[in-house]
Each structure stands twice: as C-alpha cells, then as structure tokens.
Symmetry: C2
Subunit: 341 residues, 2 copies
C-alpha cells in the first residue's frame, strides 16, 4: 500500500470541544430566547461556513422538532413571494411565530433582486413577529440545501411555529430545498406555455399541495384540469392525494383554503403509518448532503489533502492523466489520509 500523500491530520473523529466562550453562550442563549439579532448572527456564521457553527447546532438540536416547515416553489413570476407573504400573515393572525427564508441558489449577484422581492413584501417585514431572511449560495457546490437545513434547525430551536421556505428558480437545487420541508407547495399560474409544461413536470412529484395562483386570469379552469390529468397519471407511494387550491394571492383570495390544504396534509403526515419512514428519508437525504458538503470542503480547504485537487486538475489539464484515473486517486488519497493521522 503506498504511503499516503496527505498527512498532518488530527484525530478524524473530532472530539466535541467544550469551547464555551462567553460570546458563544450569549449567542446560544439569544437564539434559545428567539432574539432576532442572535438568530441572524448564527445564520451568517452558517452561511459563511464557520467551523464552529456545527457546535452551536449540536447544542441547539435537542430544542428542535416542533416547527412545521413549508417549502414554496414554482417557476419565476408565479407569485411565490406574494403567497408566502399572505400565508405568513394568516399564521400571524393565529398568533403563531413565523419565519420566512427566501433561498436563491443562483448567485451573489442576486442579492439585489431578492431585496426587491423583500421590499414588495412590505407588510411582513414591518411585523416584528416575522423573521425574514434571504439566503444565497456562496459558490459552494451543493451547499445550499445543507445550509437551509441548518437554518431550519436554528429557527426551530428558537421557537418558531411555522417557517416558510421560498425558492427562487426551478432547478434540482430548489427541488432538494423544497424536499427538506415538511410540506411542499407548488405554484402555477394559468396559461403558461410549453416550456412551463416541462417545469410543471419537473416539480410535479414533490408537490403536496398545488396552488393555482393568479386564478382570476383566463385559463385557470383549463390549468386545473390539465394538472388533475397529470396528477391522476401518477400515484404517490405514501397514498397522499395532493391538494389543489386556487388563489389570487395579491388580493388575499384563497389564502384560507391554501392554509387548510396545508393543514390537511399536516394531519395526514402526523397520522400516516409511513411517518417515521419519511422522517428517516429526510434525515438520510440531509446526511448525504452534509457529507458531500463536508467532503468537498475537506478536499478544497486543505484540511485533509492540501493542493491535491489542484495538482490532479493540472495533470489532467496537461493531459498527463485522464479524469477517470485522477478521481480514483483523489478518493483513494482522501480515504488513506485517515491512516496518516
């Protein structure tokens, strides 16, 4: 067996160090009490990939498990922000503590656009009982759903009853983000073209409740009929028949019905015999995502194999090796690194 190239490793099962600095305690206590400033600070640590954020999250985890999370997805322009705003208002009126996370998988650039959305979402942002946060990837491959899961844990531990997770865009990332929520709302609008058919299909499987928004537009009945036809062709393994509601979110119309459809699904989830299967599946997806993010960080960050990825990439670029052999070497060395520790 060749001598491992990556050395200088510490113990690979990191001891949970009791770092409890005074600042650490203050931040933790602030989150536990639901203070927005403390929550926002911890989320920033998570977004920046701070290594000690896992320590906080470990300590907060026992407080989690009560919050109900709702993912809201759909093509651009269907009115996700407006619906999220309306639903948040509905839950606030019931006296619940509500969080909103707007997840943007595309780019740092998009900060501005999200801000625009948030400005439109005026009613909520002025309500001190609603915590609103935008998140974007910082170029980390696959890091978004990991970070979203962590932020959901933070808000859960901080005592939020409901968290709405709005995704921008319609790719695989959004699907994963939406799947991390307890319930997933898929929004459509009447009369979109062929390409939207493709989008609809892509997010079809993940919808627990379908919302036809802007339902005062022409074609709402036809869109609903098409949707029912599409849904009737597939059957979910858990036996749930997705709800369907029409809304005009900008006028508040249909919000009660939408909340009721979510509630029905929540009741179904809680009484479902597959309940623990689903919980396990959510955790499995999450562990994989976290492991993938961690391994990428290890490979790039130099903690394990400093420079190895770059060296191999240079060899492939110079055509001294092929990528298929290079990746075998990379993984082998990553795993052998443990021996050197």
């Amino acid at each position: 067996m060749p001598r491992p190239a990556c050395e200088g490793l510490g113990a690979i099962v990191p001891e949970f160090k009791n770092l409890r600095s005074p600042e650490h305690e203050v931040l933790l206590e602030g989150v536990r009490r639901g203070q927005f400033r403390a929550i926002a600070r911890l989320i920033t640590l998570i977004e920046n990939g701070a290594t000690d954020s896992a320590d906080f999250l470990r300590e907060l985890f026992p407080l989690t498990g009560r919050c109900f999370t709702i993912g809201v997805t759909g093509a651009p322009g269907v009115g996700k922000s407006t619906l999220v705003d309306g639903l948040a208002g509905h839950y606030r009126q019931l006296g619940l503590k509500v969080g909103i996370i707007a997840v943007d998988p595309t780019s740092p650039f998009t900060g501005g656009a999200i801000l625009g959305d948030r400005i439109r979402m005026r009613s909520r942002s002025l309500d001190p009982g609603t915590f609103i946060r935008s998140m974007a990837t910082r170029g980390h491959l696959g890091g978004l759903s990991r970070a979203t899961g962590e932020v959901l844990d933070v808000l859960d531990a901080a005592g939020f009853d409901i968290v709405l997770v709005e995704t921008v865009g319609v790719g695989q990332d959004e699907v994963e983000v939406a799947r991390a929520a307890h319930a997933t709302l898929v929004l459509l609008v009447p009369g979109m073209g062929d390409d939207v058919q493709a989008l609809k299909a892509g997010i079809m499987e993940i919808g627990d409740v379908f919302v036809i928004n802007k339902a005062d537009r022409e074609g709402a009945a036809r869109t609903e009929a098409e949707l029912r036809a599409l849904l009737s062709m597939s059957r979910r393994s858990d036996g749930w028949r997705p709800g369907m509601v029409r809304t005009v979110a900008s006028e508040g119309a249909g919000l009660q019905e939408c909340a009721r459809a979510i509630e029905e699904y929540r009741s179904f989830l809680e009484s479902s015999p597959q309940r623990s299967d689903r919980a396990q599946q959510v955790q499995r997806d999450r562990l994989l995502e976290m492991a993938r993010a961690r391994i990428t960080e290890d490979l790039l960050g130099g903690a394990v194999c400093a420079g190895l990825v770059e060296a191999l990439a240079a060899k492939v670029a110079a055509r001294e090796t092929d990528p298929y052999s290079a990746v075998e070497e990379l993984i082998a060395r990553y795993r052998l690194g443990a021996v050197g520790g």
Copy 2:
C-alpha cells in the same frame, strides 16, 4: 481508535483491469469511428451509472481534446432549442460534425417535454450528420454535470467538431453544466418581468456571449441597454468583454452574428494567457463533481458502508443523535473503511 464498521473492502485503488471482452472492443471501436449507435449505447451506460463506463472513458480520453463545446442556457421560453437548432445548421453547412445534448436536471417525468422540444427541432433530427441526445438525471444528486462531462468526452473522442449543450431550467445545476462547456451562451428575450431580472443576474457571470433572442419583439433595445448596464458593473478576471448579439432564431436571423461572436470568444480563449488556468479550473470543478458523485454512490450503494447511512438516519430521526454528530461519524467511518480493507 474504534474498530471500523465497514469491512469487506477490496484494494481501494482499483487496478485498471484489462477486461477487453469482444463486446467491449466492438463498442469502443464503434465510438472511435463515430457510429451513432455505439455512441448512444455508451451514453446509456453512462446515464445508468454502469461501473464499467469509466473503463471505456479512460480508453477514449487520449482521443479527446479537439471538440469545441458550447453551453446554451436561459430562462424557459427564450428559445434555446430553436437557437441551438439554428446554430447546428450553421455549423453543418460549414461541413462540421455536430452534436446536441439537451440536459434536463429536473426529473424522469420530463422526458415527454424534452421529446416535444426535439420534435420541434425537426430539421436537425433528420440530418444524419447531427447527433442529438436528451439527458436527464436519474435522481442522483449532482450526477448531472458529471454525466454531461463524460458524454462530452465520448462525443469528443468520436470526432465531433462542435457540441451544443442546451440546458432546461435555470438553477445551480444548469450553471454547472454550462460552465463545463468551453463557451457559454446566455439567452434573453425582450420585455420579461421582475423575476427574470433575478434569473438574468444569476446567469450573468457565466455568459461569454449574450443573445437577445426574439429581438423583433418590442423592447429589444431596452433589454440590450439594461444588459450593457449590468455587464458594465462587473469585470471579468480574464479580461473578456462578453459579446452581445440579437437574433430571431425562429427565422434564422442573427445566427451568423451569433456564430461569429462565439468564434471571437474561441479565438480569445486560445490566445489567452490564462488559457491553461481555465483548463485547470474546468478540470478541478470536474474532479470535485466526479468525486462527490463517487462518494455518494459509495455511501448509498453499499460498496463501502452498506446500511450505515440508513442506520444513522434512523438514529437522527429517532432523535438518538443529532445530524451534526452523525455526519462526522459517517465521514470518519467512510474514511476508516480503507483500513479495514
């Protein structure tokens, strides 16, 4: 150090086995000769994650390096398929061998929609000199850009001069797929709303050439002005100033200009002092993606730690541990697996 839980490993640096069965040789030779049937079969092996596809790819890699790949991305409805069709026709007229890959990161469901697109793309699919293939993820996290990279290698080795990679949707996945190409075209159409602004921002950084398609619509000049303003706010580290062209792809208008803008970027790339940096960066991203896909397969496929992910997920779901500790254990055991082998 605890006894590793994952045993039964073989050597972790797999020997390159000389499996050369007659079928293996026939398939390889078919790909080398550019036979569409052989190419299609190898792509299917790649899509299905067949373990021996890496053997083929290793053998084909020395033949790669001549093909120029063009990623085409943009929001739904901007006319990507039509532009790709038009550009393919343009390159065919120059006597070049052209491949088209339509990449759909959303779902198996979407096969139908893609097929619809392909049916519209009639002129190309009847041309025996154009190879057309749709690809979708099979539920593998992050597997899409890996598979796309492998298919590009296959087409490169098979002697294609140009491969156009069209992405459906606008998420992080598409960005990664587009980045794997030599040149990336970003399509816009005049007069889209606020949400499109967000999309534009997301894909802004990756565009080497911007195409305002459907430029006969009202607002083309304004869209171009907005785009120029947005682009002027950022400067690329490689010094390239992205090209901008207007097209009406459905009527073939502007295709020459578009091809010329791509050619300019290609010349820039080939004369750029950062040329090798960029090649290395592409390979680095690719290696990481391949490593992530491999590790996920190892974790789920049972080759390394059969059942470990499920067991940990069950423990987290039962709240016997937290996900942050579970992922540490998962990674530690994955790496320790090497010791047990």
